[in-house]
Homo-oligomer: 183 residues x 2
DNA sequence: ACAGCCATGTAACTCGTTACATGATTAC
DNA sequence: GTAATCATGTAACGAGTTACATGGCTGT
């Protein structure tokens, strides 16, 4: 039962459990961009194509080739695979790749002005991304009552918003400390 | 000048600018495990071997094969590459892969008890990782005065600690909300 | 009709991993 | 002296990317 698929495969299966049950790879990529990207990497378009094909080969989704594009729908076997993935596999600790922190660590080979502008830019990016997520979250309002499937995306969106807020606070604080030190 | 290397290469170059200037691949991996892993992925041992070799081929580090193992030291060209990487390349937004959030999003295909225990486990992992980072940070005390190279790792460690604290708070809050809903 | 974008794929390639092979060092 | 661990690599593989090719759709 525990077919060992890449995480992205499960992520895509998960996306297929929401909303219109029959979607093209393109639409699936859009779903990934609007939600998945905040907690995972949104897969490249090409990977969505190849991964959906694999899922179809394994019988975890059914492919129907009516129009020009293939449309996918999650199969019962897919739901089973998803459930057992959630319940049986080990969860693991979050990994992040933080290019700002990575550069700041070796701040001594750079100069304070560069570090400062890097953090300022990061603050702007943070704000923008937070706005995007807020929009996503706003669109869930009304469909996210307790018991609804979208309840959970809504909870996770709140999580993400809080995370971005915290990250903003920390970064601001860091800027203050840097400024104090260089004067 | 802007040789396009994988991020990991720059990360390793960065690690070579601290402490004992001449290290083996093994020791470099240890440095990565103790600091890098909190803000980036710590590369696999094998990748450290291959990446250091590439850096040597490019002349960014010098390899000296005295003992059994090859020892590496950052070269002037390496410092230049590192500097120009920090100052010229685009920084990009942090990416994280959050297996807990990913599973929670599709909470509707699981059951509340499983979700709950997943979050509880996550809290424990968070605490442990935070402890590890605190240890690393403690070891910096004394060598992290303003102006010292280790000043920046110290700042970034504080950043990480604050991040873990925030993540803990959010997760606790999430647990409360989940419990409220299921009763 | 044609310029530009939307959409569907395929191919080549790289990063980074796990698995494997092997040699040195230490503990008992 | 032998088991366990530390250390140094190599090889095979896989996930995920960018680049490429192509077809349909839309506005003017």
């Amino acid at each position: 039962m525990s077919q060992d698929l890449p995480m992205t495969a499960y992520a895509l299966l998960g996306l297929l459990t929401f909303g219109d049950p029959e979607v093209t790879a393109y639409e699936l990529k859009q779903r990934a961009d609007s939600t998945l990207r905040f907690y995972w990497t949104s897969p490249a378009m090409s990977q969505v194509y190849s991964e959906t094909q694999r899922l179809a080969d394994l019988g975890l989704v059914t492919a129907s080739g009516e129009g020009r594009a293939t449309r996918y729908r999650i199969a019962d076997a897919g739901r089973d695979a998803l459930r057992s993935w959630i319940e049986e596999t080990q969860v693991g600790f979050p990994v992040w790749k933080h290019p700002v922190a990575l550069r700041l660590i070796i701040g001594h080979v750079s100069d304070p002005a560069r570090l400062r502008s890097m953090l300022v830019d990061y603050l702007a990016d943070l704000e923008e991304t937070r706005r995007d997520l807020q929009e996503v979250r706003d669109r869930l309002v009304g469909a996210d009552a307790v018991g609804e499937p979208l309840r959970y995306p809504s909870l996770v969106a709140d999580w993400g918003l809080a995370h971005f807020d915290s990250e903003r606070d920390i970064t601001r604080d860091l800027l203050v400390r840097l400024d104090e030190e260089t004067t």
